[in-house]
Structure formats: structure tokens, C-alpha cells
Amino acid sequence: MHNPPMISGRRALLLAAAVAALIGCGGTTDDRPASWPFISATITEPSCATVNCHSEVAKRAGVDMHDRASGFDAMVMKGFVDPTSPDTSAVLYLMRGQGSTRMPPDMPLPEADIVLIRNWIAAGAKNE
């Protein structure tokens, strides 16, 4: 049914290895803004507001993080963050899996993201 292969398996493997090598890049400094609108749009909405968790339709544990306003309400009004003591904020323990199920349970956040959230809390945890 098929024509004879024009590319050998070994050559295809080499090509595959070259593409796979496209990993690991970026600088050591983090210039991303430690602001809630940025964190919500780029970290918590794609990672936390997933279909069975904190999306608008699921609202697992009563927490809705599907947009900036709902996420801010969940994080600040429900007491997951404490600007007076950022390092002991509950959300950081959850995201690091310390004493609880790690959040998000299916796709842990990089420590760089957790530090950015910590810096936002330390700056007053404002919605701006």
C-alpha cells in the first residue's frame, strides 16, 4: 500500500534528537511584573482555572479563578494570602505541597512562578 521509505529510520532518529535538543533556555533574572493582573492572566488562570478545578463551571472548594476579578476575590478575600506575613501565606504552602496536596495537583508550578506570587503578596497583594 505504501511506497518504499525514502528516509532511513536512523536518519529520522537523528532528526528527532535534534528537535528534542530544543530545550532549556532563558536568563537567570526575572523581569516579570509582580502584579495580580499579570499573575492571573499568565499563571493562575491557565494553571488553576482548569475544567475540574477552579474554573467558573466547576468552582472546586468554592474557589473560582477564571478571571482577574474572581481570582483576586478567591486569593485575597478567602484568606489564602497574608500581606503582613507573605512567606506564611496559605497559598504558598499549597503551591509547594507543604502539609497538603500540591496545587495544582496535575501540573506543579515552577518555583519562579511561586516566588513571583510571593513577591506580589509582599507588595501588598493589590489588584493592580
Binding site: A20, G26, P37, E56, A61, P108
Partner: protein
Amino acid sequence: MRRLLLCLLVAGVGTFGFARGAAAYPQFQFSSGTTKCNQCHYSPAGGGLISSWGRSESGDTISMAGDGGFLHGAVTLPTWFAAGADVRLAVTRTDDGGDESPHGAWFPMQADLYMRFAFGDAFSLYLAGGVRGETRPEDDSISGRFSGIGDRFISREHYLMWRPSATGPYARAGRFYAPYGLRFVEHIYFVRRYTGYELYNETYTASGGYVSDEWELHLSAFTPPPSSLPDPLQSVGARESGIAGYFEYRLNGMAALAAQARAGIGKEASRYQGGLVGKLWVERAKLLFLGEADLIQQVVTTPSFNQSQFVSYLGVSYFPVRGVMITPMFERFQENLSVAGTGRNAGDLQINLFLYAHCEVVLFGRYMRVGTQGQPAATLLMAQLHYYL
């Protein structure tokens, strides 16, 4: 007969359970002798209900034995009507590196029903309805809005289509994903999750294109469901409106190279992305190489900030004997290309066993490294039973 009874038992149990995605295996392009997705699917870009040709292939080429026809060939439907269903049960074991890991769960993953009505040779109406999945063990302390099956109904796809012939031009409008990427059924793959194709994020889309034996083109404009629509029509994930294009060129029935682009404009952030998709079938070795790589420019409105992202997939599917597909793969997502600690790398192994027509067992394992060295790794083990009608 015993295997058939087992399959029907799985389907019966699973009917009480719940949803995931219209099934499509891009690995069957070339490896099964077909070159185009729409040879087996009614959709011009693949996915969803399979055609009579696809049913025949599922029994004769893909599965170890059995009849791929509707109800195992017991009933012949009129040519103007087609129907099907997908039911999945899954069990998982997750180790996220946290203090309470590992933890397990079993859950009904999918229960979807599909129907297609043809009006003459050119027009058709496609309807899909099902129940949202529920992937956490019952725990009142973390329960969400869902209280029963009634809350979980969802119609992820429904559209009208004009397609006078299997090859040539087509147009369709309704709810479905704009064609883009490798279009895996597995929604946890990074190339779906981070490109606007999260689970249940189907948009309202107008799409048109052209499908020939050598190439195909799909152009789409899309928008999320209006927030005024009821829950069964709502999406989950980024609410973006925009356009998408996908062009694929095929070579000698053994390779394909595609270029793609998508712009999704959201209220809080927008994404402008483009990439390449490639497939290569090596007949002698029974290997199908698949790859996708996308660069994404994410533009955040407030504060004004742009970041570049990268997401990729590289896998090779091995078909040692009929009915068995083994796919090791590598995935990469980097949330911000300027910040080294924002990457995720995953090595996956998936084994699909098509033991009997309509029945499938899926075994999946993932080992994922997140961020920089020193962060704990995460692992996922999953087994699925899948029955399609």
C-alpha cells in the same frame, strides 16, 4: 465473544460516567494506509464521529479483531444518519512531590453521544452531547458546583457543514475547535493545553478550506461562547476571539509538513502564535514520527507586558503488531523564554491496545520536571478503558 461481552460491560458501567474529547488519533495518518484525516472522520480536519470508511478501518486495520460497524455491525443505519458514542473510565496515580503524595483516583472520564444528519449530498448537521468529567474523588470539603448529572451536560460540538465532496472545498459553522496542531485527543499534552485547546474550550467557529490528496488548508475565525449562554454551552479556559490557519502538504503518502498560525485576542491577555507540524512514516520499521513546535507571543494588557513562550511535542509511535501502538514522547513548555526557571519538560510513554473493535485499553505514564533543578518531579500513571459505539 467473551471480549465482546467485556466491552459491552465496560460501556454499560461507563454510561453513568462522564466526558472528555472527540477521539482522534493523528498517529493513524499514514500508518493505517490513509493519508487524510477526513478519510475516516466526517469532520474535514479529523476528530469526532467516524465515517463508514473509518469504521471499516477500525475493525479491519486498527483493531486485533471484530467488526467496527455501528453496534458491531448488527445494525445498518440509513446513509443520511450516522451515530456513535465514546465512553471512558480511568484510574490514576499521581505523585506531585507534595507532602500528601502520592494519591489515586478513579473516575468516569467521558460519555459522549454523536449524531450526524445529512441533507442531500452537500449539507449536514453534526451534534454532540455528553457529560463533563469528574476527576477528583468525592470529598465534600472540596466539592464544587456540580451536584448531579444534570449540572454536567455539555455540547462541545454542533455545527452545520457544506461539503459537496470528500475532496475539494468545504465550509462549516458552529461550535468546534479551529483546526490547528496535531489535534490529539489527549488534552493533557502541552501542545493542546498551552495553545488555546484546553479541555472543553471549543469555540464558536466559522471555518472553510480545501482538502485534496496532496494538501489541505483550513482557515477559521472563532469566538468563545457568549457568557449569556447556559452552562451546557459554556467553555472552559482562555476566552479568546481570533483567527487560525493550518496548511498541510503531504509527500508520497508517507510524510506531511504543516505550517500554522493563530491569533487569539482576550480581554486580559492575547496570544499570537505560529508553528510547524511534521509527520514521517517509516514503513520498514513501522514507526511514525510526529512533531509540533510553536512559538507564542503573549501580550498582557495590564500592566503592558509581552512574553515569548515555546511549546513542543516530539513522539514516535511504533506499531509492532496489529492492534498495538506504543508511543514514547517528549514535551516541552516554557512559560517565558527569558526566564530559565519557567520551563516544564515531560517524558511520556503511552501504550494503546485495540484488543477488539470498539474497545481500547490505554496505559499512560508521565515523568515531568518543572522549573529548575531541585524542584521535585511529578509523575502520573493512568489506565483507561475506552469503548466507542
